[in-house]
């Protein structure tokens, strides 16, 4: 049987997805990108192949996407993550009208049309506001592990606000909130609100098109999803592994 691979080389993590000949998800892997994008792509694909129990020779076509897509020498084609996220999200949730992808280095909002086609998109500009990096910096500052941030935030009440969306300025706001003895949970909640506000303004520039699917590592954060749903007044689709949506889209393109 022929297999198809999609590899998404992101700023922080690299994902590989393998589809079988029928287009069913055979397996996937997620590794850290580190300093060498080519090695990360090879490692991710190798891991996924081991999981599926297949060899590289059985992969008929590979499509690479993400920031490091140019560094995947064995890819047959390179496609932007914008097209891949749209297609991946459409495949998982066919009613998707908008994709909100919050990755490590950037966040983007994509308006998706029939068949997973990109109708329009917008991205954050050259700063880390509204990205995974924002939360990562704040987690380090508050000495909380990144994957606990969401739960801590949902437990909190209070009315603490972070007015800045800028990572550097927000960090100094956090410092002063800590100095004022505000509970960590409340500060984390405020940080989540800040990131949601930033991304929400991007959603608004494209107009809200239901249904909304979230992808990227930050979609694993329950608080971000929940605050976004509050803004939207609607529930949001999130796959059990939102990080692989881009790689899935790439694999689907490989099979096309």
């Amino acid at each position: 049987m022929n297999y198809f691979a999609g590899i998404d080389v992101g700023a922080l993590s690299t994902e590989a997805v393998i589809l079988d000949g029928k287009g069913e998800l055979a397996g996937y892997s997620i590794v850290g990108t580190g300093a060498n994008s080519t090695e990360a792509a090879e490692e991710a694909l190798q891991k996924a192949l081991v999981l599926v129990g297949r060899s590289y020779d059985e992969i008929k076509r590979t499509v690479a996407t993400g920031y490091g897509r140019a560094c995947v020498p064995f890819a047959d084609k390179k496609i932007t993550e914008i097209s891949c996220h749209a297609l991946g999200a459409h495949h998982l949730f066919p009613d998707t009208g908008t994709v909100i992808d919050i990755g490590g280095q950037d966040s983007k909002v994509i308006r998706v049309g029939e068949g997973g086609k990109v109708l329009d998109f917008t991205m954050n500009d050259k700063c880390a506001a509204g990205t995974g990096r924002f939360l990562e910096v704040m987690a380090a500052k508050l000495q909380v592990s990144l994957d606990k941030m969401g739960d801590l935030s949902l437990r909190a009440g209070g009315d603490v606000r972070i007015s800045s969306v800028c990572t550097v300025f927000a960090e100094s706001e956090v410092v002063s909130l800590v100095a004022q003895n505000h509970p960590k949970e409340e500060i984390i909640r405020a940080l989540h609100r800040s990131i949601v506000n930033r991304v929400w303004s991007m959603v608004k520039t494209l107009g809200v098109h239901i249904a909304v699917t979230m992808s990227g590592g930050v979609a694993k954060n329950r608080a971000v999803v929940s605050f976004m749903e509050e803004k939207l007044g609607h529930s949001i689709h999130v796959h059990t592994e939102p990080q692989i949506v881009g790689a899935l889209g790439a694999a689907l393109l490989a099979r096309k």
């Binding site: 920031y67 932007t80 991205m123 520039t205 107009g207």
Partner: protein, 437 residues
């Protein structure tokens, strides 16, 4: 004005600069570039353009003391200065030159060291950076005797030129144009005409020459003809394939900006127009394989012209129109020799950046239709707030009305530090994917 300097200026004008041109022509032949298969043959007029602009900057250094020198903003009604024989230097054109020569960050940094903020327009920062460091790719710029600006392009020029007036200790003439919210009325026109009348004594004093109304009318006539010809030059790009790319037009724009009202600009655009018409007749395109036709919005990204030009041409995409290049042709029909002041007030107050967004929307719609545009590339320029504001609304409306796909590139006109290669590239590649190229 000194006699010695005057003699030197005329010597350089008549003998020095032609000699320089001959030398530059001779050296240019030795550096022939490998032709890029994605482009048609280069425009022959380009050599003449280079000569005109090199000569303009070369001679400018000898103008100091020989002729009255004015530094002028791109939207100022320069026609009024011409009868007084001012040698005009355009800091914005100089800024674009610095940008194209990739000197933007260096000169901007100098201004920033003197306390000017990074968010300030990079043309202004380059100009102030030049003031503090006197660095320029043009060799030397002449010290101005007068500053002449209009706020029809932005409010920044007001404060930028006030700073220049403070540093150089020279007079500043500011032409205030009421913003066109709905329409420019008779009171607005009277207000602007009164300003022109008030300018004349200052211009006479600085230049030492009397105002000559007839000469002024002649200049209005030449300026109008040159702008009209520029408009015809742009119109040749309606042809399929277009005989020129907008990246060429960004370069060929220099004379209409800096030499408006002088016979040389008119002569040049007649030559260029002739060549373009011939290309259209022969079906010769600027790029070899024109699949898609695009429109550009906002000022050029001067340090990325070649890269962008190659990137799009390789995919068979040609930019055939731009709101920016159009700005020097759009309002010229208002200009009338018989009523120079009133008509000039209208011409200059109705320019794109002094006009409301509805007007801009209508203009973009018209250009998209007339030039058969398939896609729109919007440069959101960090420097130019009046041009960049409203772009997201405009693109949304254009998409709704005409279904034209578009992409926004966040960059800057000359400060390459505000440009992120990867961020821009991913946006453009996604745009290419959406357009199926």
């Amino acid at each position: 004005m000194s006699l010695v300097r005057n003699l030197r200026y005329h010597f350089m004008k008549d003998l020095g600069s032609p000699a320089l041109m001959r030398f530059s022509r001779a050296t240019r032949k030795r550096r022939s570039r490998q032709p890029n298969p994605n482009f048609g043959p280069p425009l022959e007029a380009s050599a003449r353009l280079k000569e005109i602009m090199t000569r303009h900057y070369f001679l400018s250094r000898y103008a100091e003391g020989a002729k009255p020198v004015a530094w002028v903003s791109s939207g100022a009604p320069v026609e009024l200065l011409r009868p007084f024989d001012f040698y005009t230097v355009y800091p914005e054109n100089h800024g674009a030159l610095c940008g194209a020569q990739k000197m933007g960050p260096e000169l901007c940094s100098v201004a920033e060291e003197h306390g000017y903020h990074q968010d300030l327009c990079s043309y202004a920062r380059i100009d102030l950076g030049h003031y503090f460091s006197r660095k320029t790719p043009a060799g030397k710029l002449p010290k101005p005797d007068l500053l002449f600006a209009s706020n029809n392009i932005c409010q920044t020029v007001v404060y930028w030129y006030k700073a220049l007036a403070h540093y150089w200790q020279i007079p500043l003439i500011l032409f205030d144009t009421p913003y066109n919210f709905e329409e420019i009325n008779g009171i607005d026109i009277a207000y602007m005409v009164r300003q022109f009348e008030e300018m004349i004594p200052t211009l006479e004093k600085v230049s030492g020459r009397r105002f000559n109304y007839r000469k002024f009318q002649g200049i209005i006539r030449i300026a109008k003809e040159a702008s009209n010809t520029w408009g015809e030059v742009l119109d040749t790009m309606k042809a399929r394939p277009a005989p020129m790319t907008i990246f060429d037009a960004f370069g060929h724009l220099a004379p209409i900006v800096s030499l408006r009202g002088l016979p040389v600009a008119l002569e040049y655009y007649r030559t260029l127009l002739g060549e373009l018409k011939e290309r259209v007749d022969r079906g010769m395109g600027a790029i070899t394989n024109e699949h898609k036709r695009l429109m550009w919005d906002n000022i050029a990204i001067w340090y990325k012209m070649r890269d962008l030009s190659n990137l799009f041409a390789a995919r068979g995409m040609n930019f055939v129109t731009a709101t920016y290049t159009n700005a020097w042709a759009e309002t010229i029909p208002y200009m009338a020799e018989s009523r120079p002041f009133e008509s000039m007030a209208k011409t200059y107050s109705l320019v794109i950046l002094n006009n409301n967004l509805n007007h801009r929307l209508g203009l973009m719609e018209r250009l998209i239709k007339e030039f058969q545009v398939d896609g729109l590339v919007i440069h959101s320029a960090r420097s130019c707030k009046p041009y960049s504001v409203g772009q997201y609304d405009l693109r949304r409306l254009l998409m709704q009305r005409l279904g034209v796909p578009s992409v926004v590139i966040e960059a800057d006109i000359t400060d390459s530090r505000a440009y992120s290669e990867e961020q821009a590239r991913i946006r453009m590649e996604a745009f290419f994917e959406a357009m199926g190229v």
